[in-house]
């Protein structure tokens, strides 16, 4: 009896670790970095860290929804870059255009992704791979093959979105937090969110249970596209220009942080907060690499790959010990 309860509590602990494992690693990592590197804990550095993470976080938020539904969205990187260019372009015509234009276009691309996936049954991987190419092509077409960089007028109010600060912390950070709070609400406290979980957990069942599966999927990919657009907008405001070279490989970064955050790639389970933790972990690692300073740049990618692997393996082993 007692043996059973201890193993049960052990399993529960492993469960907590598995779900919050990334958070635990994050806390330990921050603590270690704080002691090891004199400059790590400085307000400037921390501010820098969270600001840098916020752009990827917004993209990863959309990706979290998509992955929970059992899908994947490879188009976010290109969409993000496209959003940035459109925002900078739109900024010539004022704040409203700067925001609405990229949102509209990026959402539309997401919408088409969703439509193709939900209505034709094509694999998300391949549909969004195609739109990765398409969005990048569109970006190049809009910028004379990348030769034009739209600059945002330094006086534009639009820049506040990216460069403004409140209590010393960048506006994108607040926006990210707001979006994550809304995202959490959407996922946990709405029927839409429940449908997302159901679709990821057992799509056929979701259909038979009468859930609006197609509509939910379309909304999901639209949301992911829109959030990539938002990240683009923030980046354009932050960089004061529509930089054409951003977003290459960002989809893989986003997938990595979502998975590190404990969301299952098989769908049906995951958390918003985990993704936030995943983003922070990634930023932390980069920061620590910088603080060490002597790591050859080629080794750095080896380290990132190894890190991803270690986190996933640990999660997996913990999950196993829990089902034991």
């Amino acid at each position: 009896m007692t043996a059973q309860t201890t193993t049960a509590s052990g399993a529960a602990f492993a469960g907590v670790l598995q779900r919050q494992g990334a958070a635990v690693v994050l806390v330990l990592g921050i603590a270690a970095a704080w002691f090891a590197f004199p400059h790590f804990g400085s307000a400037d550095n921390l501010r820098n860290l969270v600001l840098q993470g916020s752009f990827l976080a917004v993209i990863a938020l959309g990706m979290t929804f998509v992955i929970i539904s059992g899908g994947i969205d490879l188009s976010v990187g290109s969409n993000y870059a496209l959003g940035g260019v459109l925002a900078a372009y739109g900024a010539q015509y004022g704040l409203v255009v700067a925001i609405l234009l990229p949102l509209a276009v990026c959402s539309l691309i997401g919408f088409v992704n969703g439509l193709l996936i939900a209505r034709t049954g094509m694999a998300p991987f391949i549909v969004t791979l195609a739109s990765l190419l398409f969005a990048r092509g569109l970006l190049l077409a809009l910028t004379a093959e990348g030769a034009t960089t739209y600059k945002v007028d330094p006086g534009s109010a639009f820049l506040w979105l990216g460069q403004g600060t409140i209590f010393g912390i960048g506006v994108p950070v607040y926006l990210t937090l707001v979006l994550f709070a809304l995202g959490g609400l959407l996922l946990r406290r709405t029927r839409f969110g429940q449908s997302v979980f159901a679709i990821g957990g057992a799509e056929q069942s979701a259909v038979l249970m009468g859930l609006p599966v197609a509509r939910t999927k379309i909304s999901l990919y639209t949301l992911s596209g829109a959030l990539a657009g938002v990240a683009g907008i923030l980046t354009a405001a932050y960089l004061q220009s529509g930089v054409t070279v951003i977003g290459v490989g960002t989809e893989l970064d986003a997938i990595s942080v979502v998975v590190i955050g404990g969301t299952l790639l098989t769908g049906g389970a995951g958390t918003i907060i985990g993704t936030l933790v995943g983003v922070l972990l990634r930023t932390l690692i980069q920061n620590v690499i910088n603080q060490i300073g002597t790591l050859d740049s080629n080794y750095q990618t080896v380290v990132s790959g190894a890190f991803l692997l270690v986190v996933v393996v640990i999660q997996r082993l913990l999950a196993r010990s829990r089902t034991r």
């Binding site: 550095n45 990348g146 460069q163 070279v245 290459v248 080629n298 750095q300």
Partner: protein
């Protein structure tokens, strides 16, 4: 334009360090006084270097090495030289620069990933009164206020010089294929613009195809193979970097043509492989883009700290290799 340079420390295959085109300091240059920045001693200062891409090609390898070597030569302690690599991620480069500032960098050398978009990092440096020298790529911010100065090649001019070399190599007539660099890259844009504008002055030369080879040898080779088939009349290739040029040579050889003779090849960079091909007779000209910025960058910072005026941009005098000089100068190329 080719001036004989005294070779710098023979650390990277012994090529000469970059040197300024016009040494005369302009009177309205940027001075320590004008910026109001504190004076720091180069020998004891913390210096930060932000590299943009992985050191996975000759240019980046040589560039970073040159900075490190020069710092060592000047006696800057290794823990006083902070080096970061942004892995081609612009946001990360900004964060890298901020992080170095945070760790006490007093002087910054930055190899920007992109001409636009570094503003937040430059603002942070300005706020901390840290002078920034950008190398190899110019940023579109305000010199002296946002950053101190730019040291590097003029990419448009490189394109122009390539066009001139092309005109010379072809004798002014021919059909030209352009192997473009990566789309969206400033370097691609500038080298294309310079080349095309200049080429227009030679009516005998027409561009029949322009396709991206993404600065990559194998992509350049593949594209060239396709172009040889669809445009058998191509007589000249302009590659926006050496790698694609070498790829084109491979493609031409496989197709049974003799590069350098049937089809003239001009490219930009100055890597050992390309220059050696000129010596071997299967290449026509290479416009140098010198990555050895170390000495000039530190010199410039030193001058600035000394109170001397610094011009808004310091364009380096890039060398040029062709049939006439490749054999003697092959040692100057980098790898």
């Amino acid at each position: 334009t080719a001036r004989e340079e005294t070779p710098a420390a023979p650390s990277n295959g012994g090529g000469p360090a970059a040197s300024a085109q016009s040494a005369a300091p302009s009177a309205d240059g940027c001075t320590l006084e004008k910026t109001g920045y504190p004076k720091v001693d180069l020998k004891t200062a913390v210096v930060g270097f932000s590299q943009s891409e992985k050191e996975a090609n000759p240019f980046r390898i040589t560039e970073t090495q040159s900075i490190r070597d020069e710092a060592a030569k000047l006696g800057i302690a290794s823990d006083k030289l902070l080096v970061t690599n942004a892995q081609s991620d612009l946001n990360r480069q900004i964060s890298d620069i901020k992080s170095m500032l945070d760790r006490g960098a007093q002087l910054l050398v930055v190899a920007p990933l992109n001409s636009d978009g570094l503003q937040p990092a430059l603002d942070a440096a300005k706020a901390k009164k840290v002078p920034v020298v950008t190398i190899d790529r110019k940023v579109t911010s305000q010199p002296c206020t946002d950053y101190l100065t730019f040291i590097g090649s003029n990419f448009v001019e490189q394109g122009q010089r390539a066009a001139q070399a092309m005109a010379k190599a072809t004798g002014g007539t021919g059909k030209v294929a352009i192997l473009l660099g990566s789309s969206g890259n400033n370097v691609t844009t500038d080298r294309t613009k310079g080349f095309k504008d200049e080429l227009a002055k030679t009516p005998g030369l027409t561009v029949v195809a322009e396709q991206t080879g993404e600065f990559d040898r194998s992509k350049g080779q593949s594209v060239m193979e396709q172009l040889i088939q669809s445009h058998p009349d191509i007589t000249a290739v302009y590659a926006e970097n050496d790698e694609m040029g070498v790829g084109a040579v491979n493609a031409l050889k496989t197709a049974g043509k003799s590069p350098g003779k049937d089809v003239k090849i001009v490219s930009i960079d100055g890597t050992r492989n390309a220059v050696q091909l000129i010596v071997d007779g299967s290449y026509n000209a290479v416009i140098e883009s010198n990555p050895r910025f170390g000495p000039l960058a530190f010199q410039t910072l030193q001058k600035f700290e000394n109170g001397e005026p610094i011009p808004a941009s310091i364009v380096i005098s890039d060398d040029q290799y062709d049939e006439s000089n490749a054999a003697q100068k092959v040692g100057n190329s980098y790898k």
